[in-house]
Amino acid sequence: MIRTITIRLALLVAMLVPGAVHGQEAEWQSVLNAARGQTVYFHAWGGEPRINAYIQWAAREVERDHGVRVVHVKVSDTANVVSQVLAEKSVGKATGGSVDLVWINGENFASMKTNELLAEPGWATTLPNWDYVDVENKPTVVMDFTVPTDGQESPWGMAKLVFIHDGARLAEPPASLEELLDFAKANPGRFAYPQPPNFFGTTFLKQVLVSLAPDASALENPYDMTIAAETFGPLFGYLDELHPHLWRRGKAFPKDASQMRQLLADGELDIAFSFNPGDAAGAIANGELPPSVRTFVLDGGTIGNTHFVALPFNSSSQEGAKIFANFLLSPMAQTRKQEPEIWGDPTVLNVGALPAHEKALFEALDLGAATLKPENLGPVLPEPHPSWVGALEEAWKDRYGASGG
């Protein structure tokens, strides 16, 4: 009896699967049809001209191929976008929202998710190009800062904290946080990090926090006030020691990573950092950094994560936004993104599993002398749970951000 049911079920599944695939295709076709003529307001950080140019290219491609117009709304801080959608929800604007797609990850995603500002779960895994995403080897494409994405955001690129130095000025870069501190003491004013809550500044804090916290596993769980003091203790001990030797003695901070890169180019700083392993190579190709610049990581690993695009609940151009998200995932768009002159941002796809032609695209990439080989990038340290970030930024502000120097 049980056997017959199993057989029947197996038969049923066998009959349904091709149909299911067919159904998916038909469904995507209906998305394509609905999207034609839509305008997608893509809210994305706009502080990096190279990335802006890449987005413009992608926008032109989808307009040509699918008749979807994409407008890049350049934002200075993604938190503003969250605030905007939240305000719209509060005034009851359930359709026709001003944001159709947002470049996002981490605490902003978590905040949108808890406030129910995102489109229904699962859309991301229905995108045709989702099949190529490297879910197996890159767990962060479905776990954004320990929060499950539930298909509510589609991965766009991989980020890993790397440090950048000018080999002509600094031959042997520090290999650990202790050595970095020693370096700063020996070379006052030549290291800096952007002022939190800037994304890159916070990332540096998280790197130190995760590396030095007495119990790093506590950071994978939501913020716990009772252990905050002991968890933050070593971090602030480190910063207290570091700050007098920072650039401008910690009385002023670079605004973001691109300013830090500019300061490295000027020779004000000896060490900068980036969340994009290909950043230095790209900046060399662009003439923004001298050719002697190299990339390095710290022993024990650096923070790494994935960045995504997400759909707000009240977008009226959801189909167009999905088409754009799917295009961003395509092997063609992903290889172009990884080219150092274009952007240098690593792919979220499983290159090994791609069809031969697409695989060849990635293999032909020249990542440049300044980019570390994937095997030299070191282990990936997990991001802390997003709820720690707010507390961390508040604690930092209380301690260093409001002293007036």
């Binding site: 307001y41 706009g46 502080g47 990096e48 001209p49 802006n52 140019a53 413009q56 709304v73 350049k74 934002v75 200075s76 801080d77 938190a79 503003n80 969250v82 605030s83 905007q84 939240l86 305000a87 509060s90 005034v91 604007k93 001003s98 902003n108 905040s111 006052p188 004013g189 030549r190 002022q195 650039w247 401008r248 003695r249 009385k251 002023a252 901070f253 605004k255 973001d256 990573a257 691109s258 300013q259 830090m260 890169r261 500019q262 300061l263 180019a265 000027d266 020779g267 004000e268 003439g287 923004e288 001298p290 502000k397 209380d398 260093y400 951000g401 409001a402 002293s403 007036g404 120097g405």
Partner: protein, 566 residues
């Protein structure tokens, strides 16, 4: 003449509504959330909680103090530089040259000026490069806290460099009155030095006209956002940019605190203005008692030279800053300590201009529309009031200047909420409306004097020939005033291009102009792009002023009396 006795004065009422309406509504929209009431976001009970949260913020006192001190010091310093220079050099050839250079500086938007200044004075900036390494021994930039210093010196300098040209032109306009030469002569005959003559005889007559612009400068400087973003301190920020951060926080209850902060900002600006009025009183007493002693201050050669120096310094700073914007905009690689770019490339400049297309067209649309509306409204108001022989009305003037005397942030918060609630937020129309609030007062300022100076006999002669009122306006008054009308239009364009906060807040990020772009890029890293946008920001008003100078000569090419002399 036809009398229009009983009819209500439509233009005056309309303009009063247009100016005061948004300000009052905006103020209310700011004040209610400050006391916890913001029903659209679900806050429906009045409380003092927002203020408690505000005062618990770390660094609030420092933020407030920086806003107060930098704004007040920059304003007073600017006025002092202008007045002392006027006293020392008015009517000389040097004076003519300086004023020719200062007018174009006025058209440089604040953000562009701040970006250029940053290129100049940063530790890796042009000055240090020029002297390095041969003189300073620095082959790398020194670790000096020049930009973003916690006391706000860099920000003060940036404000002074922009407010001096403004106050200078306002003072110059005030000096444009009959018999001034006779007073100078009388002073000299009585044996007073040139500077003493100015301060004891001239200044008391012209000061009432300078006062309003000066108060506007204080209100602006104590609440500035764009200059503070680029040159101001960040640990903590001055109050106004800090409010923007709170306003955009994903935690919506922070908006209540930000509104409370906006009321604090209003208080701080009001305090600065009050402080200045007290200062003014003391200065008045000092001048009066000095006049009563009868001292002549005949030897003022040194004072004269000293009065020239700060003015020249500002001219040089601004000229170099603008030059650096041009140079950086074509510099692909320019590494320290080179005083000239290593690699020049026009490609990226061209590319960036193409990419800036949408921002540029939004800028031009806003500038032209607000310019045309503001100028037309001003003309309508002046014509109607002139016809009713109401040449001067203090109340209306106060209403018109109200938006300039309040910190923008104080009522823009509320306006933003109103637009959000009406669904108009983020549209070009709402941004245009917000620009108009700030553009109109300048249009009125620029045009009312030339209008009132127009010889009334033209109008009378025409009327006595039986020509209608509208014909008088179109055929006589407007052609005669072509030059000032075009200059007014150019002023409006410059003011509209310079609007950062209204565009940012009312536009909700969707309306991008070259100004919002250039502030965003200036705080980023790529100097070439920052320079390019700064330059675009500067070119639009410059084109306006150039056309305003050229068109009348072309139109009036066969009317020698209407040609520009000199």
């Amino acid at each position: 003449m036809i009398r229009q006795g009983g009819k209500p004065d439509v233009p005056s009422v309309l303009i009063a509504l247009l100016m005061a309406g948004p300000v009052v509504a905006g103020l209310a929209g700011t004040a209610l959330p400050a006391f916890g009431y913001l029903p659209v976001l679900g806050f429906e009970t009045f409380s003092l909680q927002p203020f408690q949260a505000l005062f618990a913020e770390p660094g609030l006192a420092t933020s407030a103090w920086i806003s107060f001190s930098t704004g007040l010091v920059a304003s007073v310093l600017s006025l002092a530089i202008v007045l002392v220079f006027m006293a020392g050099w008015y009517g000389t050839r040097t004076f003519g040259r300086v004023s020719r250079f200062l007018s174009p500086i006025l058209s440089i938007p604040h953000a562009a000026a701040a970006i250029g200044l940053a290129f100049l004075i940063a530790p890796s900036g042009f000055f240090v490069r020029l002297l390095s390494p041969w003189m300073t021994g620095w082959d790398r930039p020194p670790d000096l806290l020049i930009l973003n210093d916690p006391d706000g010196f860099a920000m003060t300098l940036g404000l002074v460099a922009k407010e001096v040209p403004f106050l200078f032109l306002m003072t110059l306009a005030a000096m444009n009155r009959p018999h001034l030469g006779a007073y100078f002569k009388a002073g000299a005959t009585l044996g007073y030095g040139r500077m003493a003559t100015f301060f004891l005889i001239i200044l008391p007559q012209i000061y009432p006209l300078v006062r309003l612009p000066m108060l506007a400068v204080i209100a602006y400087a104590t609440s500035v956002v764009d200059v503070a973003e680029i040159l101001g301190p960040t640990t903590p920020r001055p109050l106004a940019p800090q409010l923007i951060v709170w306003m955009n926080d994903p935690d919506l209850s922070m908006r209540l605190m930000a509104s409370a902060g906006a009321l604090l900002q209003l208080t701080i600006s009001a305090l600065a203005i009050t402080f200045y009025l007290v200062l003014e009183k003391f200065a008045g007493i000092a001048f009066k008692s000095s006049a009563l002693t009868g001292k002549r201050f005949r030897q003022d050669r040194n004072g004269q030279i000293a009065s020239l120096l700060p003015m020249l310094l500002i001219l040089v700073l601004m000229a170099l800053s603008t030059g650096l914007l041009v140079l950086w905009s074509v510099a692909k690689s320019w590494w320290f300590p080179a005083a000239f770019p290593q690699v020049l490339s026009i490609d990226r400049a061209v590319n960036a201009v193409l990419m800036a297309g949408p921002a540029l067209s939004a800028t031009l649309t806003l500038a032209l529309l607000s310019g045309v509306f503001a100028t037309a409204l001003t003309l309508w108001l002046l014509e109607a009031r002139g016809f009713r022989k109401k040449r001067d009305s203090k109340k209306l003037k106060m209403l018109i200047f109200l938006p300039l005397l309040l910190p923008q942030i104080g009522f823009l918060f509320g306006l933003q909420m109103l637009f959000l609630a009406t669904g108009l937020g983020g549209t070009l129309t709402s941004v245009l409306l917000s620009h108009l609030i700030f553009v109109f007062p300048y249009a009125f300022l620029a045009l009312s004097d030339p209008w009132n100076r127009l010889d009334p006999r033209y109008e009378k002669a025409a009327a006595s020939l039986g020509i209608s009122r509208s014909m008088i306006f179109w055929k006589i008054q407007l052609p005669l005033l072509l030059r000032p009308v075009l200059v007014t239009l150019a002023v409006c364009i410059a003011i509209s291009v310079g609007q950062y906060l209204p565009t940012l807040m009312i536009g909700g990020g969707r309306i991008e102009t070259v100004t919002t772009e250039s502030v965003a890029l200036a705080s980023g890293g790529n100097r070439q792009y920052a320079a390019l946008y700064g330059l675009l920001q500067l070119l639009v008003p410059l084109a306006g002023f150039t056309l305003a100078a050229l068109i009348p000569n072309l139109v009036h090419r066969n009317r020698s009396a209407l040609q520009m002399r000199g």
